[in-house]
Subunit: 459 residues, 2 copies
Amino acid sequence: MHMLRKILVVGAGKSTSYLLDYFLEKSASEKLRLTIGDLNPEGIPEKVKNHPSCKVIQLDIFNDDERIHAISDCDIVVSMLPARFHIKVAEDCIAQNKHLVTASYISDEIKALDTKAREKGLVFMNEIGLDPGIDHMSAMQIIDRIRAKGGKMLLFESFTGGLVAPESDNNLWNYKFTWNPRNVVVAGQGGAAKFIQEGTYKYIPYHKLFRRTEFFDIEGFGRFEGYANRDSLNYREAYGLQNALTLYRGTMRRVGFSKAWNMFVQLGMTDDSYSIDNSEGMSYREFVNLFLPYSPTDTVELKMRHYLKIDQDDIMWDKLVELDIFNRKKTIALKQATPAQILQAILEDSWTLAEDDKDMIVMYHKFGYEIEGEKKQIDANMVVIGENRTHTAMAKTVGLPVAIATLLILNQKIATPGVQIPIKKEVYEPILEELKNLGIQFKEYDVPYLGYNPDSVAS
Amino acid sequence: MHMLRKILVVGAGKSTSYLLDYFLEKSASEKLRLTIGDLNPEGIPEKVKNHPSCKVIQLDIFNDDERIHAISDCDIVVSMLPARFHIKVAEDCIAQNKHLVTASYISDEIKALDTKAREKGLVFMNEIGLDPGIDHMSAMQIIDRIRAKGGKMLLFESFTGGLVAPESDNNLWNYKFTWNPRNVVVAGQGGAAKFIQEGTYKYIPYHKLFRRTEFFDIEGFGRFEGYANRDSLNYREAYGLQNALTLYRGTMRRVGFSKAWNMFVQLGMTDDSYSIDNSEGMSYREFVNLFLPYSPTDTVELKMRHYLKIDQDDIMWDKLVELDIFNRKKTIALKQATPAQILQAILEDSWTLAEDDKDMIVMYHKFGYEIEGEKKQIDANMVVIGENRTHTAMAKTVGLPVAIATLLILNQKIATPGVQIPIKKEVYEPILEELKNLGIQFKEYDVPYLGYNPDSVAS
């Protein structure tokens, strides 16, 4: 049997509920000792803190002594810190011969540790959450299977969305914030979206991003839409899709969200590049009026409808009214805030999950391929519904792959050293298998191959 | 009488034709000796080079010895270099006690020399071209006059445009490049346009900038439109307009240009933030198709009309066709070019001034004010038509104020030392007077004060 294995989890934010539970549930059978290091450990639930196999320490990761000491006393480190803070932890893991697991994108700094990690036989597993994470694993499982049968990949599309569960979906936007609201407000900014369709590069500027959507139907859940991520070509080499004609990655929303969100984009309310001097105390109505032409006679409402070219019986209009953005009394509490920060604050009034609200994760892949002269397509999708505001589908789908990978590394089932993402069979097979046991699984459908089907693209 | 005075002009680019002519014409009466220092002096016209009062030297302004020596041998330096290169020259002027004149915006580096310039009694005159330049002087002349009569400023709007003269205006865009084409293609980028209307801040995002235009009529020249510059509030303090309710600065075009230009903005073709890997050898048609959705059946033309929601009998469509952007055979010569660079190259095919084409400068100011309880308004405008491709209206309106200021400084008519812009009476009165003698003058009209008139704002 194993000796006692020590896991250090650094950072116990809201995505860690399932992660911590998984370790503690397995603590007896797998002989695990869990240490949670966090700057503010008060937030950690009593049930976790008081578990006999759990130790909670206050840890400032910028304090070298504290950090080095915490890492020295474990076998593997799980860093759930914001991505930019991983590097300190990663360097200590190299120095002290510890494996490392993160759910974040590999930064150049982390990548640079690859040779050292290999030399020392250390597994540095990254991008092992939901997206990135489950998307890599589920996609590579099907791509490898197609290739094993002799198929040649023609098309790969992949979309993920963090949404509200149907039973809690009670606003006109069919949307609530289930993760970092800021990322939602500034989504798509910073450059044109780039992808490849039927062998041709395509670029969508930010102000058109939410008008170039694609539809998806998921059995039992209805219709969704997707808009393009900034760079759909990021994993072209990693997935071995250099010859695929279509590569498209994106974000899923309920149908109608993007068209409505585009109103804010058009107005300039999502801009995060400048601050508004007199934002504190400004009414929601005054905020809206900053982006509309001056008129000595017309109301903000009329100017808004005219500017957006919508009628008052348009559902788009109802969506704006629902957010109470024309309120004269509600005021902005933020000083010198950017339009995006103010918009976020206004949306949080309406889109914050209620105590008993449940979230929902959806993922949709399309795999087009050619085999024995025939063109075929597999569509695969996954839906996960959360339990409550702490045990969200987001926390589950981010945390469980991290937890499972950690245990597999401790058990040397995942043993290939180096800085990596979960695209190898050794990694994705056992993780997807265990996720299935925990209720996270994809449904696959054979569908006709239509190439990139323009009829399912909204203008 | 004066002793011989020595003027050094650094940089003899295309804006210097009138500037050099002015000095040489005055060389006998004013006892001027002109030295032109340029990296490539071959480009300087024979007529100038061979003038008895002119000396041409090859000058690399990054060569300290050459630069210091050239400056030591003059009484005043006129720097017509690109703005970022002025600082080296300015520092030498301080060290060697020489006055300095430039047509560029004051940089922080130049501003930092103010105390030293004052201590040494040196005039460092900047922003003394067209825009900035003539705009400052003509505006301050009227503002000071209104104030002298006891008026209180309520509104100031100012628009400038570099256009093609009516007799050379033979394309559907009513536009040709008369200055730096790159500045035209990327105009308005880098942040929201900010201004103030009737006491309220207003922000226009880039993708709406060309849809929020204002109209202007100029007697004898018809109608123009203006779109907002990025920061209309830059000269609020300098002009003493802290209490004005409306401050709006912008760029003038012929009516219809902005609506058509907006097509490129919407498509994402003006983006200068990323490069297209395979741009070299790409056809114009392929370039256009990068920004349109994929379709296995529809033509680029149909996709374009659908995307822009225009019909084939729309004048907008004719404007695109005129540019030949759907051509399959014309190819892009630029490697790894940004969309903006490629668009510029395509537009240069159509919008380059022909040998005998003339350009036109238009400037339009509005001054709203209150006097003895009454609200009034003065509109003032200026039109200058160029002579030919060398002696352009642009070169005239940029070069003459620089030349006139230079002479006035030499003659101690402009004597207040320090780093400055031409907003003082001592400066603008004699310059505007001399410009009038040279055919550059404003017409003024008393018009009803309407505040910011929403009826003249295009939606």
